[in-house]
């Protein structure tokens, strides 16, 4: 049963024609409202994850639930399809359960609030926003257990629930939920901050409606969606071939010793429509690395990526959704069946972007980007201070943005929109730790005509006993290079105990006990290189060496010889470049740094960690699925 809309004065909107200036003003007004949502949230939220790192996503949608402004596309379809009750004036919905909203949020840490915006008794728009809560209870601090085998281990789940009715907060429900969280004060503040943000959006939308009239606003939002569809239609026709293209990439492991897991996608065009088919993706994991991928969200990822790569002038919204079809087989890593664990979905979510890049770029090498920092690695640290006070940190890491057609990838940056690092002085003021090193690691960016960004090293000195958890990836597979560019360096985590003993920590781990004085080196990974490194201007390589971003040894990957005094040895460089070019031959479109078999073989030696075992898929979901997949082995 889909949700039922209740309006006290329902009446149809009239489609009117809009002059271009008014349309521009309404579009800007909507965009402005969306940025104001962010601003209100950042100012009033308390958890560092939201207020400093901006792990949140706002959206304003039209009456049909199509996103007009926002980031991740509309999640309202999924919500409406899954919700059985009414949608009424004065409601604010809260949901945190991916399985109850068709993956509108993909793990339970994300709290999604949705507000239908009514004016004079009828619905005129929606405002919604979700943000990542630092903790929602469950078996581990941070609520993202790497060894969870069902969603019941991952903290409290809230099905779509009216947390406000007739604009009155249902305090009992909120308190019940907060009672299950380790940091209720943060959650309460973040919750109110999200409510404030969507109320701001509501205010702005109603202002626009008052100013221009309901019909003008309705028509303008429609026209904005149409405008986007027209532009995207052209873009799809000119960039997506009718011939099937395939690309596959991996997440390295599941945190329980098995991996890598394959994500495979085919793409082709039928008329003006592009089809994405994830047939061939591995079955769902028994662990928590599953990513419940909402098809509409994937469309948005894809649309935005295409716009950025091919024509950044196009404004993006949901208008083009009819031009895409996404097929995700059930029971796979990307559409797991309940109650599969989902909390560590960030790796598969990130990898989707590398897959998109590979898929869209292989037919258009000039627009192809290398593999980048397609993840948001987590560091969690919690325990009791000497005075008995509980502390709990959840923090996101940064790394190398890939080399791309437009230039080098920045060092130690983010691929995610609006993410920023938490100032170390802030962390040190509020948590028992000291950050002794905060720098990018030379040579970790893939060599290329355009260099991949360097990985980031953060060295945390623990000042209280406690436990740490780590979620990262790309420690086994490489961030690949393209068009002759080399892969970036892989990630690693080194724990140096107070007594000097060094331990290599797995990329995903929970509840590692630490003592005051222990030092963790949290090294992320570099971006892949773009284009032939032997063609990178010598002075750029020399500049990077002087800046300490590339070492003298690392310069040799570009065929550049730097003398001990820092100057370029022109003669030796010329000779080295010639020699390397001859040895290498033709450049490769993709450089994955080796096959999975090769990477596994050298794993122990190169990473200090055992290679993961080939995944065993539990047959909870019926042999038919497995058989079907085997039978349809893609070309």
């Amino acid at each position: 049963m889909p949700a039922k809309l209740v309006e006290t004065k329902p009446r149809p909107f009239k489609r009117v024609s809009i002059d271009p200036i008014t349309l521009d003003i309404i579009e800007s007004g909507m965009l402005n409202a969306r940025y104001e949502m962010d601003a209100v949230l950042f100012r009033t939220a308390m958890s560092p994850g939201i207020r400093e790192q901006h792990d949140e996503f706002p959206m304003i949608a039209n009456v049909d639930g199509k996103m007009v402004v926002g980031q991740f596309g509309s999640f309202i379809y999924g919500f409406k399809a899954a919700y059985n009750g009414t949608i009424e004036e004065g409601d604010i919905f809260l949901t945190t359960d991916p399985y109850s909203c068709n993956g509108a949020v993909s793990h339970s840490n994300d709290w999604l609030l949705l507000r239908p915006i009514f004016k004079d008794g009828r619905l005129i728009a929606y405002a919604a926003m979700f943000g990542h809560m630092t903790d929602i209870g469950g078996k581990v601090p941070g609520s993202m257990p790497t060894d969870a085998q069902s969603i019941f281990e991952e903290g409290i789940r809230v099905p779509p629930t009216k947390i406000y009715k007739k604009d009155v907060l249902q305090e009992d429900i909120l308190e019940l939920v907060l009672h299950n969280c380790r940091m209720p004060q943060w959650n309460r503040s973040d919750f109110h901050a999200i409510v404030a943000a969507i109320r701001t959006a509501e205010k702005r939308v109603i202002e626009l409606s008052n100013r221009f009239g309901d019909d003008v606003l309705f028509s303008a939002l429609d026209e904005l969606l149409e405008r986007n569809k027209r532009a995207m239609s052209k873009l799809i026709k000119s960039t997506v071939p009718a011939k099937k293209q395939y690309f596959e990439d991996y997440i390295c492991d599941d945190g329980m010793g098995m991996g890598p897991y394959k994500i495979r996608c085919a793409m082709w065009r039928e008329g003006e429509k592009v089809i994405f088919d994830f047939e061939g993706t591995d079955p769902q994991s028994t662990g928590s690395v599953n990513f419940y991928l909402n098809e509409e969200m994937f469309k948005m990822f894809c649309g935005v990526y295409m716009i950025m790569v091919f024509d950044p002038q196009i404004m993006f919204n949901d208008g083009f959704y009819d031009l895409m079809e996404v097929r995700i087989p059930e029971g796979t890593l990307l559409k797991p069946r309940a109650p599969a664990a989902l909390s560590c979905r960030t790796h598969a979510l990130g990898r989707i972007f590398d897959i998109l890049g590979g898929l869209l770029g292989q037919g258009n090498p000039d627009f192809l980007c290398a593999a980048g920092f397609s993840d948001s690695p987590h560091f969690m640290y919690s325990g009791y201070r000497k005075n008995g006070e509980w502390y709990q940190l959840y923090s996101i890491g940064f790394g190398g943005v890939p080399g791309k057609p437009s230039g080098d990838g920045p060092d130690g940056h983010s691929l995610w929109p609006s993410f920023t690092n938490v100032p170390n002085e802030f962390l040190e003021s509020y948590f028992p730790l000291r950050i002794e090193t905060y720098e990018t690691l030379p040579d970790t960016g893939g060599a290329g005509l355009h260099r991949g960004g360097n990985a980031l090293r953060v060295a945390y000195r623990m000042l209280e006993p406690g436990q740490i958890s780590i979620h990262d990836d790309r420690w086994l597979t490489y961030p690949w290079g393209v068009n002759g560019g080399l892969p970036g360096a892989r990630s690693r985590k080194i724990l140096v105990r107070k007594n000097g003993k060094k331990e290599m920590l797995p990329s995903k781990c929970d509840r590692i006990p630490v003592e005051a004085g222990d030092l963790l080196y949290f090294d992320t990974w570099g971006g892949g290189g773009w284009g032939d490194p032997l063609k990178r201007p010598v002075e750029k390589v020399a500049f990077d060496v002087e800046a300490g971003l590339v070492t003298r040894e690392g310069a040799k990957r570009y065929g550049v010889v730097i003398k001990p005094n820092g100057t370029v040895d022109d003669k030796a460089t010329k000779a080295l470049r010639a020699k390397m070019a001859k040895k290498r031959g033709k450049t490769k479109l993709f450089d994955f740094g080796g096959t999975i078999a090769e990477l596994k073989k050298s794993c122990r030696k190169e990473t200090g960690l055992e290679a993961p075992a080939t995944p065993v898929f539990q047959n909870w979901f019926g042999a038919a699925d497995q058989g079907k997949r085997k039978g349809k082995k893609a070309a």
Partner: protein, 684 residues
């Protein structure tokens, strides 16, 4: 008699405004800027304006000055070679910045980051560590520092920045490093982060302090030199520099903290525009300040320009308050060119500046500029007409320059010139949209007020694109910045970061700090000779719920605080929080910054009412002339603005000339002269 003088040094012209503090009478002057040493131009101007007023420079007591020296240094990348000292482990603090990639989802695909203001090759690490509570974790290794500083010196650094971790909590190590630097690198100006912006957040503190170092040598030289020169002829004068936030800074503070001056020039323009427009009854404004090298636009709602906690110049954003002005690199001196590859006509951002200047100014410039195009089209009359009394315009040279563009495009001379103007107007329109439409404001609800050397020539066209009527051309539009400078109240503030939860302090302790801050803020005014009776002191506190990132500023009276203590500010904060964000929280509150602001009394300026006349402006007509507008030559009238009377209606096409600027009124538009001498342009 005592006088105050407002001086604005632009890229091309220096404008002066003299106010008689007793009568409120004003006098203006305009002279060419002298970029090699701006004080030369300023002194020329002082001589001139004093002559106009018939006074001795010694009678000037206050010299208020807005300057673009700091801004231009950043925009042109001509700042100092800055060395940076960070804490060990933090050498890449500027390289990593906040890890932020602009542009939303997928924005990284097109984002190319520029190199940091202090190059990594000139960044060294000090082996030391201060903890978050100000405790010394590791003492400074002086020997290693000396060695590394010497190496930096050999690389030829011109300024040094010291920004160490947690220095906001304990500046001791930064001071020690500064001491060592003074020994090892004598004569190199040093900026210390704990002095420039003593706030938490290492990246923001570092970039702000580096920006300070970057512009400092130029600003320091400039201010010292100016002070020295000015003091020669004005014995009693106090030199003030206008800050980005519209406040005034002493000369000494300006030299040490030039990062606060990045928006100094524009702030003067906005203050002046608001002042003038309010007299004429307009409170919603788009200010449009088009000078020789750049154009600044700002949105003023209900008589108030927006302030920002940040200042952005080019792609540098620092923690310093400023008037929310957007700058585009296009002005009268912007150079037009036709790139070989695309054969597209481009205008700016390169500028001919004051030297060599537009070709028409005959100072050696040969490249076609916007000014030259205006000359070619007849908008800037040549021949006997003078700018600043002594600047001739050579039409032949302008034509020769614009011909380069005409030939490259295969157009007639006038068509090419019109193309240059169209493109530059479109750029201006884009800048105005940035502050209006893109912030959700409808430009049709605002009036465009134009000033700066070139503003009035382009305002009618830009106003037409925006639909912002009337377009206001204030009298003496070139000196408006100087107007803002001269009418700004002397203002100083004293502040202190004092992070305490309410439960960790007492009303008594807080009151004591506020009183001390109040007397500190007042000191600067005392030294200006402002009597205590003419000073007003207000108090503010920045406060939040413990754990929040935001700060709200609460104003209060000292008396009510003494009566009711922390409750006064706590309750007011809850109210504000609720009003702004729809909710208040039951959490404990935290004080962060405390501030006292002392202000002198406002300057009295006599309204300059114009003599009343009829609608007919013919008494002011000077000549008929040919203007190339709307694609063809049309006959227009040239008016002398000095002879226009209140109530006159000037029909376009027309050119209105005055000593320091030229206004173009387009066909099918009229300019009505109001009681204050403003020309209000609207569609006919």
């Amino acid at each position: 008699m005592s006088y105050r003088l407002g001086v604005d040094v632009g890229g091309t012209f220096t404008d002066l405004l003299l106010i008689n503090e007793q009568t409120g009478d004003i006098y203006t002057a305009k002279v060419p800027s002298t970029p090699h040493d701006s004080s030369v131009g300023v002194l020329n101007g002082i001589t001139k304006v004093c002559k106009n007023a018939g006074i001795d420079p010694n009678e000037i007591t206050h010299f208020m000055h807005g300057t673009t020296v700091a801004t231009n240094t950043v925009l042109t990348g001509s700042g100092a070679k800055v060395g940076l000292v960070t804490t060990k482990g933090y050498r890449q603090v500027l390289q990593i910045a906040r890890s932020f990639v602009p542009g939303g989802l997928g924005g990284w695909v097109i984002y190319n980051k520029s190199a940091p203001l202090a190059p990594l090759a000139l960044t060294i690490e000090a082996d030391e560590r201060i903890g978050a509570r100000g405790e010394v974790v590791r003492k400074l290794n002086v020997a290693a520092l000396k060695r590394d500083l010497k190496a930096l010196g050999k690389k030829g650094i011109e300024a040094l920045t010291i920004s160490l971790i947690n220095s906001f909590a304990n500046p001791e190590h930064e001071k020690q490093v500064a001491k060592v630097a003074a020994e090892v690198l004598p004569g190199i100006p040093v900026s210390i982060s704990s002095e420039i912006v003593p706030e938490m957040q290492e990246y923001e503190r570092t970039i702000t302090t580096v920006a300070n170092s970057y512009v400092r040598p130029k600003v320091e030289t400039y201010v010292r030199n100016l002070h020295k020169q000015v003091s020669k002829t004005m014995k009693k004068v106090q030199l003030h520099i206008l800050r980005s936030d519209g406040g005034l800074s002493s000369a000494k503070a300006a030299e040490a903290y030039p990062v606060n001056l990045l928006m100094s020039g524009p702030a003067g323009g906005v203050s002046g525009a608001v002042w003038v427009a309010q007299q004429a009854g307009f409170k919603n404004l788009l200010t449009f300040d088009m000078g020789g090298t750049s154009t600044d636009v700002c949105l003023v709602e209900n008589g108030k320009a927006q302030l920002r906690r940040e200042t952005t110049v080019g792609d540098v954003t620092v923690r310093a308050s400023s008037v929310d002005v957007r700058t585009v690199g296009a002005g009268g001196g912007s150079i037009a060119k036709v790139p070989e590859l695309t054969k597209a006509l481009r205008v700016g951002p390169e500028s001919a500046g004051a030297v060599p200047g537009p070709a028409a100014y005959d100072r050696g410039g040969t490249l076609p500029t916007v000014t030259d195009a205006n000359v070619v089209l007849g908008y800037l009359p040549s021949g006997e007409v003078r700018l600043g009394g002594d600047m001739k315009i050579r039409k032949d040279l302008a034509e020769k320059a614009v011909k380069q563009v005409a030939d490259a495009l295969g157009l007639s001379l006038k068509q090419a010139a019109a193309g240059i103007i169209d493109i530059v107007n479109e750029n201006m329109y884009g800048a105005c949209r940035l502050v209006s439409v893109e912030k959700g404001y409808d430009p049709r609800d605002f009036s465009l007020i134009a000033f700066g050397g070139a503003g009035p020539l382009h305002a009618n066209a830009v106003g037409k694109l925006l639909g912002s009527w009337p377009v206001i051309i204030p009298p003496g539009p070139g000196v408006l910045c100087a107007y803002g400078d001269a009418t700004t109240r002397v203002r100083d503030e004293a502040s202190r970061t004092f992070i305490r939860r309410f439960s960790e302090t007492s009303a008594k302790e807080v009151a004591k700090i506020f009183k001390a801050l109040g007397s500190d803020a007042s000191k600067a005014l005392d030294s200006e000779g402002i009597a205590k009776a003419d000073q007003s002191i207000s108090y503010q506190v920045d406060i939040r719920y413990h754990g929040q990132g935001l700060l709200l500023t609460v104003d209060f009276e000292l008396a009510e605080f003494e009566a009711r203590g922390l409750d006064v500010i706590g309750e007011r904060f809850d109210e504000m929080h609720k009003q702004l964000f729809t909710f208040a929280l039951p959490h404990e509150k935290e004080l962060v910054n405390m501030r006292a602001v002392a202000q002198g009394k406002p300057t009295f300026v006599k309204p300059q009412q114009l003599e009343k006349g009829s609608a007919d402006p013919s008494a002011a007509a000077m000549a008929k002339l040919t203007l190339f507008v709307e694609g063809r030559d049309q006959e227009g009238t040239l008016y002398d603005r000095g002879k226009l009377k209140s109530g006159n209606v000037v029909k376009g096409p027309a050119i209105v000339l005055e000593m320091d600027s030229t206004t173009l009124i387009l066909p099918n538009h009229v300019g009505r002269v109001d009681d204050w001498g403003n020309i209000l342009i609207t569609p006919a």
